[in-house]
């Protein structure tokens, strides 16, 4: 016997709606991957390896790829040491006034609009230098990277069971050695994954580079005090050009960026327990 009632009907509708909305939430990602692949693959296939190695005159994005690598490397050099130390401080003294303020500050910086970081760096580095530069771009990316690495570091340290703290301090080696020589290495997996995710994230950033990096797509970067290109920045510029060729190139570059991002993010994410967005 099948009993029909309004209650059951509502329940049915509810389940259907929830499932539909769930699909609707993830569908865009699938469509994006499909679109980028569909539009970008032909471009890459057609131009072959020159797409990755050549400059703009050969319709290639080589300088942009090099630029992205350079920027990520530079920003890591600048930002990682500071962020790491801040994260360890926040772990060791979470309740002190400075500790609590630091954590609040990190939270604020995590949600800071990235374009504003770019404008700030423009004001203090680009204008005095008189030119866009890799240095400026890297500095902007470092500022964005810092709160992520600091928080990942702190969380990774917090996961260490208390008994290891007792054991390491119990050896009488003092706070500095107990933390940096025993506890930090214990947490090194969590810290490294946090660093890698943060690096992947800044590699995909566009807004902070708008007014700092400048763009360089004809030739490979040679100096950090000169303008440099980056893949996201290139895509942004190409989209706004009226030419169809530029758009094709944008799709090709997007495919490169997408593959790079997914290739780094997914494996790392699968080995991490908690992700901070």
């Amino acid at each position: 016997m099948w009993k029909f009632s309004l209650r059951m009907a509502k329940d049915r509708v509810f389940i259907v709606a929830v499932s539909a909305f769930t699909i609707l939430t993830v569908y865009p990602l699938l469509h994006i991957i499909y679109s980028v692949a569909r539009n970008g693959l032909p471009v890459i296939m057609e131009r072959g390896p020159t797409f990755f190695t050549g400059g703009m005159s050969e319709a290639g994005i080589g300088p942009a790829i090099a630029g992205t690598f350079l920027l990520v490397l530079l920003s890591s050099l600048i930002g990682l040491p500071i962020a790491f130390l801040v994260g360890v401080y926040a772990y060791e003294y979470p309740d002190s006034l400075i500790g609590r303020t630091t954590q609040a500050l990190l939270q604020i910086m995590l949600e800071f609009p990235t374009v504003l970081v770019g404008v700030f760096v423009m004001d203090i580095i680009v204008l005095p230098m008189g030119t866009f530069s890799a240095l400026a771009g890297a500095f902007a990316l470092a500022i964005i990277m810092m709160p992520y690495v600091a928080v990942y570091t702190k969380e990774a340290m917090r996961q260490i069971p208390f008994t290891y703290r007792e054991a390491s301090f119990g050896l009488g080696v003092g706070r500095v050695k107990a933390i940096f020589r025993i506890l930090v290495p214990l947490a090194k997996r969590g810290i490294t994954t946090g660093i890698l995710i943060s690096m992947a994230k800044v590699a995909g950033e566009t807004a902070p580079l708008l007014f700092t990096a400048g763009g360089l797509y004809e030739s490979y970067p040679t100096s950090v005090t000169e303008p440099v290109g980056a893949i996201p920045l290139l895509i942004y510029t190409l989209i706004q050009s009226p030419s169809k060729d530029a758009h094709s190139m944008a799709w090709g570059a997007s495919l490169v960026l997408l593959i790079f991002f997914l290739g780094v993010f997914i494996p790392i994410r699968r080995s991490l327990k908690v992700v901070r967005l």
Partner: protein, 254 residues
Amino acid sequence: MNNYAIETRKLTIFYGENRVINRVSLKIPKNVVFALMGPSGCGKSTMLRAFNRILELNKDAKIMGKVFLMGQNIYAPNIDPSDIRRKVGMVFQYPNPFPHLTIYENVAMGIKLNGLLKSKEEVERRVKWALKRAWLWDEVKDRLQDYPSNLSGGQNQRLIIARALALKPKVLLMDEPTANIDPVGTRKIEDLIYSLKEEYTVVIVTHSPTQAARVSDCVGFLYLGKLVESGRTKEIFERPQHELTEKFVTGELV
């Protein structure tokens, strides 16, 4: 003053609002095995941690009164806790070798970081000595580069003892060291503890009166944060002065 390894005077410990240890005055002689016994959860582990100032890692803990190690007031204002901790070795309820270090490195780490020995050979010699003294050498001598995860519970606990011995402390603190070890491993560790008292003073926390009777020379009975009785094990067990003590040693109190 210098007659005792550890002496406390009106030691009182608060965890936040809770008074966990209440004006305990205790004297632990040198070169004995001293068992701190009492029912579970009456502050024994907490008091033990006051003896090497590891308790301070808990931000809620407040310590009042005095504690003397070999006659020295360890809570005096100009004392570096690390100095104290080097002189006192600790063994924990759940064996906690550093999982990311090899067996060798676990024992060597304390020596190296404290700069106790200069050359690599000296460190190696000390590690070997410590593992031998902890009755673990024969079982691990062929796999020093192996990781503690491949050792049994009892072996790991002896590794922890070796780690502590490597620093040549004066006193060894053991917090229910066999609570999570199988009976065979327990027996081995108890024999080891008994053998250590020649050179060290061992303070062992236990909730098992039978273990205290087996292993210790002297004993202190703690109940709800107060020291009820202390003295030579034989006397306390055969002629307990306090009703509570009698209940505990006969197994009525758990």
